[in-house]
């Protein structure tokens, strides 16, 4: 697999959300608007890339039994890092994303990638993989966020294009499930075609 394919696979072919159906909580919980989706996506992508790099670096030294705990510590460190940095320099966004920032730790994608890819591949490949997956995740989040924002608030990236409100459901929990359901159905269809 060349690096380009490695990079691009995260967008559609192995998109962590549409195809692997992982990391659903932040996906549903933070995508009330495209902007939030973007923020969450980038935060996750950052953690993904950094932990992929570090894990592929240390993979040789870690004994099997403490593999998972070690990886988790690495990931959690980066998550805390993001958390702190965001709280310090982007307090607005930090407040919006709330609980979901620390929860990046348990985002199945991050650990899943660490296990499935970074612990078996070199630094460079892992970086690319992390970047691809991270951006794929971001892409999905922005797509879902935009859908929900357009339908739910009648705006996109905060720019209002209709008078009044949209369909509130899409800002709330049920709309998140429903919108994602149809997006996945459509993506599946596109992927097959």
């Amino acid at each position: 697999m060349n690096q380009w394919q490695n990079f691009i696979k995260g967008f559609i072919k192995e998109n962590p959300i549409f195809v692997l159906v992982l990391g659903m909580c932040p996906t549903l919980g933070t995508t009330t608007s495209a902007m939030n989706g973007l923020g969450m996506g980038l935060a996750t992508a950052f953690v993904l890339v950094m932990s992929n790099i570090v894990i592929s670096l240390i993979k040789g030294f870690v004994p099997d039994k403490v593999r998972i705990p070690s990886f988790i510590v690495v990931i959690a460190s980066f998550v805390t890092l993001v958390d702190l940095l965001m709280a310090g320099y982007a307090p607005e966004l930090h407040e919006q994303l709330g609980l979901f920032i620390p929860l990046i730790v348990v985002n199945c994608i991050v650990l899943g990638r660490a296990e499935a890819f970074a612990s078996k591949n070199g630094v460079w490949s892992s970086l690319i993989d992390g970047l691809g997956m991270g951006l794929g995740f971001t892409f999905a989040l922005v797509l879902l966020g935009a859908t929900r924002e357009i339908l739910g608030s009648g705006s996109i990236f905060g720019l209002k294009f209709i008078q009044g409100d949209g369909m509130l459901v899409f800002v709330l929990a049920p709309g998140a499930f429903i919108a994602l359901g149809y997006i996945i159905a459509i993506v599946n269809k596109l992927r097959k075609a």
Binding site: P63, K65, V66, S153, V171
Partner: protein, 194 residues
């Protein structure tokens, strides 16, 4: 098939220890760096809020802040006196209510010394986006500018008061009034305003 390394007690402990120590070190370091910005950020937020709700001042309200028992004994509210040239120009009061649609709401409200409301700002809430969340909108807030609780009733119109509720969010509106009312009555009880 990840690592072929044997799992012995020593290397397990060592590995985890090293990783943790390095992480902790790095995090501790970052924490040190970000500590100030984080504090500043939250301070700034409060200061910003105070600035928004009371007339211009030149003291540091944080230094002079004091706490008051709410008039109904339901909790404590924080009061930040704003002074200009040593003269009190208003009180920024951090008040709250538990009657929101989704529970607790924190509001900063500013009173002029004569008890007239200067302005309000919602600090924290978890009301429904698009409904209760509209209490942060200018349209709703503007009616409180210059609102004198001594003359008008801090109750929504539906219940016989003088406050225009947010459409379809009477509960949130009511809660909002409840918070303001709490601040007003507490200050009044403490004799800070008329």
């Amino acid at each position: 098939m990840a690592s072929k390394k044997e799992s012995t007690l020593l290397n397990m402990v060592l590995t985890l220890l090293i990783i943790s120590v390095v992480s902790a070190g790095a995090l501790g370091y970052v924490y040190e760096i970000t500590k100030k910005p984080i504090e500043e950020a939250s301070l700034k937020k409060e200061l910003q809020a105070i600035k928004e709700v009371v007339p211009p001042f030149d003291n540091n309200p944080f230094d002079e802040k004091f706490e008051m028992e709410a008039y109904d004994g339901s909790g404590k509210i924080e009061v930040y006196p704003a002074k200009k040239g040593g003269e009190i120009v208003g009180y920024a009061v951090k008040t709250y209510t538990d009657k929101g649609f989704s529970g607790h709401i924190d509001i900063m409200v500013g009173f002029l010394p004569d008890g007239v409301i200067e302005n309000t700002k919602v600090l924290a809430h978890s009301e429904t986006p698009g409904l209760g969340s509209k209490m942060t909108s200018e349209k709703f807030k503007s009616q409180f500018h210059g609102f004198n609780p001594a003359e008008k009733k801090l109750i929504v119109k539906k219940d016989g008061g003088d406050v225009d509720a947010i459409t379809a969010a009477t509960i949130s509106s009511r809660a909002f009034c409840d918070a303001l009312d709490r601040a007003y009555k507490t200050l009044q009880k403490g004799g800070k305003i008329k």
